[in-house]
């Protein structure tokens, strides 16, 4: 069980960046995460500031909406992977209301680590987030062995 490998507090201490142009959605994610016990939560509603935030905050996990004005989630995914070093595992969980197959395939192909369609089940999203963070922690650990 993951719980045996990684301490829950360690997961909850990780920095999460949520990017969505809808205030309500960002707020929902923040509420869900706070309810789980996460402490380091950052929210961005202006996609144009997303890359800067990504670089300056260097989050452990990104929650990303795809359909946004001006800069959409696909462009951000490309920008993130251009910026990251190749040996880094910084998971992006895509949350989108567009459930078409093409969209899902494209997002995953651009480096998204998981995909949840909106509206989502709060518990499911929370579980996926903790899973991804746990994977990141284990990966970091392996890198430093």
């Amino acid at each position: 069980m993951p719980a045996n490998l990684v301490d829950n507090q360690q997961i909850l201490a990780k920095r999460i960046l949520a990017i969505d142009d809808e205030e309500a959605n960002v707020l929902l994610l923040k509420n869900v995460l706070e309810r789980e016990g996460y402490k380091d939560i950052h929210c961005i509603t202006d996609p144009e500031k997303a890359l800067d935030a990504y670089i300056t905050l260097s989050p452990d996990l990104v929650l990303l909406d795809l359909m946004m004005p001006k800069i959409d989630g696909f462009q951000l995914l490309e920008a993130f992977s251009r910026h990251d070093k190749s040996d880094e595992f910084r998971p992006v969980l895509v949350l989108t209301a567009d459930t078409t197959l093409q969209t899902r395939r494209r997002a995953l192909a651009l480096g998204a680590k998981d995909f949840v369609s909106k509206p989502f089940d709060v518990i499911e999203v929370a579980l996926r987030i903790s899973n991804l963070l746990e994977t990141r922690i284990l990966y970091e650990r392996l890198k430093h062995v």
Partner: protein, 650 residues
């Protein structure tokens, strides 16, 4: 053709004889004349010989008569000498006469022809016999001197009578001589006459032979050479295709040849006439064609003919364009190179086709389809080109319109997809917030008052219903927009059914029903979209569970036949009213909604299922059971997807 000559019956007969006959006549005629001349010559010379014979015989008769006379005279003189002398040597002439006279007489007898001479000769013969007997007696009487003396008188008498006989004979001989002289003169005259007539005959023969030859040559030349010359000229005329010179229709070989030549000429001219007429017809047809510009170009591209269609399409009249270069039809941009290129292509490949803008006389443009075909003569030499031009402006316009319409449709389709995607996003995003926050409230409902808790519950129920409505609507719309997500794969149906079974078992159990799963034969493969098949089965099973409130079970069955995989969902509930069956698959038509008010549903499930199944070329249907209902659908078998799509009877 018949050339009547004034003396046709005669010349005609000659003209009608075969050439062999004519040749024979031409050679035989002089020969026959020559032969006749030879015969006449022979006859003439025969007559002359006979005449000369007569003359010779006359001389011989004269000579012999003289000889007879001489022999007898000498014998008489001898006899007299013997009588006088008694010497035997005087008997010599007598003996000679006795020996020679019969011979001479016989010769005379043989040679005498003339009747008068014969008569006198007979007198002479008698006189000779008499004389010889007289001489014989004289000689006998004067044998011995004694005897001679005794017989002197008798002797004298014998001598006298003998002298009389001889005189008589001498007269006769003179008569014969005279007669023979007359005959000789006659014969001499006859010989001269014969000789003269022979000369005349020879002259005549020569003249006739010459004339005959001339006649034969004339006939030959008129009958053959002249006509052969006409034939020669006619052959030349025939070759030129002109009318032939008339020829007598003689029945010989040349005449027949001439007639055949005339017939051939007539046939040729008839054929030529027919050809000219056909060419004329063809020309009229070509000239009359209105929809195609058809015209001829010289090797250099000069317009050599023009038709109505060309006039109609391009605007030039024939007299305005004939003799001009066809590059006039091309717009400035292509005039420099395209006409030359087209001719070169036609020359190399036999034909060249092109489609593009051309100019009319008035300067307006039209879209033309042009085919240039190289024309060769019998010897294979290039003679020019045929150019067929069609005005395709209208068609091009309609093609353009069609293309535009198609592009519009594609754009509209894209717009629709874009719209759906956007709508999906726009509708779901607020739903996401509503459901998300609602769920958070539900999760922490111990902090809520019972009233609020119930409110949150109602909000969540309505929101979920709204979400499923939105989902179904978007699904239907997206399928109708063109099945954007359809991906047909080979699906193992047993595997799929087990997955679905796991997914829907909770729903069926929650409804208090047994879930019976009848898996298909192992290896049953369908060619379908996995997600859609799953969605349809989920829909049908959820429906069965939802509406079966009096029964005990839901049964999921899958079978295959030759071409199809059939999935059916059966329940043992109330079934469906026969009146409602036709409207089963209509959107938002929730059957007997008022009586089933407690059942939750969007009314889109079956309509969506129908579209999903049909998007995979399948069929969906319903069968009433004795107790309960059976919904089924078919999809293609993977290994049968390329076979005929036979439908099951139901």
């Amino acid at each position: 053709m018949t050339v009547s000559k004034p003396i046709r019956p005669i010349t005609g007969y000659w003209a009608d004889r075969p050439l062999a006959f004519k040749g024979l006549v031409v050679i035989a005629l002089p020969l026959a004349i020559l032969f006749g001349a030879l015969i006449s010559l022979y006859l003439a010379s025969n007559a002359e010989t006979r005449a000369e014979d007569d003359v010779r015989r006359a001389f011989a008769i004269q000579r012999d008569t003289y000889q007879v006379h001489a022999l007898l005279a000498e014998a008489a003189a001898g006899a007299r000498g013997y009588v006088l002398t008694g010497q035997a040597r005087f008997l010599e002439p007598y003996r000679k006469a006795e020996a020679e006279l019969p011979v001479t007489m016989a010769r005379l007898d043989a040679e005498i022809r003339d009747a008068e001479v014969r008569q006198r000769f007979e007198t002479i013969r008698r006189a000779t016999t008499q004389k010889r007997e007289g001489l014989k007696r004289i000689v006998a009487l004067a044998g011995a001197p004694a005897v001679r003396a005794r017989n002197a008188d008798a002797l004298e008498a014998a001598l006298i009578s003998n002298k009389i006989v001889l005189d008589g004979m001498r007269r006769e001989i003179e008569n014969i001589q005279r007669r023979e002289r007359v005959l000789l003169d006659q014969r001499q005259a006859k010989v001269d006459q014969v000789r003269n007539s022979f000369l005349v005959l020879t002259a005549i023969s020569a003249i006739v032979g010459l004339l005959g030859s001339l006649a034969a040559v004339y006939l030959f030349s008129t009958g053959i050479v002249r006509r052969v010359r006409i034939l020669e000229d006619n052959a030349e005329l025939l070759a030129r295709g002109d009318a032939l010179t008339a020829m007598p229709d003689d029945a010989d070989e040349i005449g027949t040849l001439g007639q055949r030549m005339h017939r051939a000429s007539a046939l040729l001219r008839a054929r030529e006439q027919a050809l000219r007429e056909s060419e004329e017809r063809f020309r009229l047809v070509i000239e009359g064609v209105q929809d195609y510009g058809i015209f001829a170009l010289s090797i250099d591209g000069i317009v050599a003919s023009w038709n109505l269609g060309a006039e109609r399409i391009k605007g030039w009249k024939a007299e305005e364009i004939l003799g001009q270069h066809f590059s006039r039809f091309y717009p400035d941009e292509t005039r420099e190179f395209l006409p030359a290129e087209m001719l070169a292509r036609a020359r190399n490949d036999g034909a060249a086709e092109d489609e593009g803008w051309r100019v009319r006389k008035d300067g307006t443009s039209f879209w033309a389809n042009v085919v240039i075909t190289a024309l060769y003569d019998d010897s294979g030499a290039l003679r020019g080109f045929a150019k067929v031009t069609r005005d395709m402006t209208e068609r091009r316009r309609s093609v353009e319109a069609l293309t535009a319409a198609r592009e519009e449709a594609v754009a509209a389709n894209l717009a629709k997809s874009e719209f759906l995607s956007r709508t999906s996003h726009e509708l779901r995003t607020p739903m996401s917030a509503i459901l998300g926050f609602g769920q958070l409230l539900e999760l922490d409902d111990d902090e809520l008052s019972p009233r609020h808790r119930e409110s949150v519950h109602q909000i969540m129920k309505a929101s979920r219903h709204l979400l499923s409505l939105i989902n179904d609507l978007l699904d239907i719309s997206s399928i109708e927009a063109g099945g954007t997500d359809l991906s047909i794969d080979d699906i193992d149906m047993s595997e799929l059914l087990e997955e679905v079974h796991a997914l829907v078992s909770p729903i069926v159990s929650a409804a208090g029903l047994r879930f019976i799963l009848n898996l298909p034969a192992k290896g049953t493969m369908a060619a379908a979209d996995r997600r859609r098949v799953t969605q349809v089965i989920l829909n049908l099973v959820a429906n069965a569970a939802k509406y079966n409130r009096t029964g005990t079970m839901v049964e999921l069955t899958c079978q295959q036949d030759e071409n199809l995989v059939r999935v059916s969902v059966t329940d043992d509930g109330e079934g469906i009213d026969a009146n409602d069956v036709p409207r089963l698959f209509t959107p938002f038509d929730r059957l007997g909604q008022q009586t089933r008010a407690k059942v939750e549903g969007t009314g889109l499930g079956l309509a969506l299922s129908k579209r999903l199944v049909e998007s995979m070329d399948g069929q969906i249907g319903f069968e009433q059971r004795q107790k309960g209902a059976c919904f089924w659908f078919t999809i293609k078998r993977a290994d049968a997807s390329r076979q005929s799509t036979a439908r099951p009877t139901n």
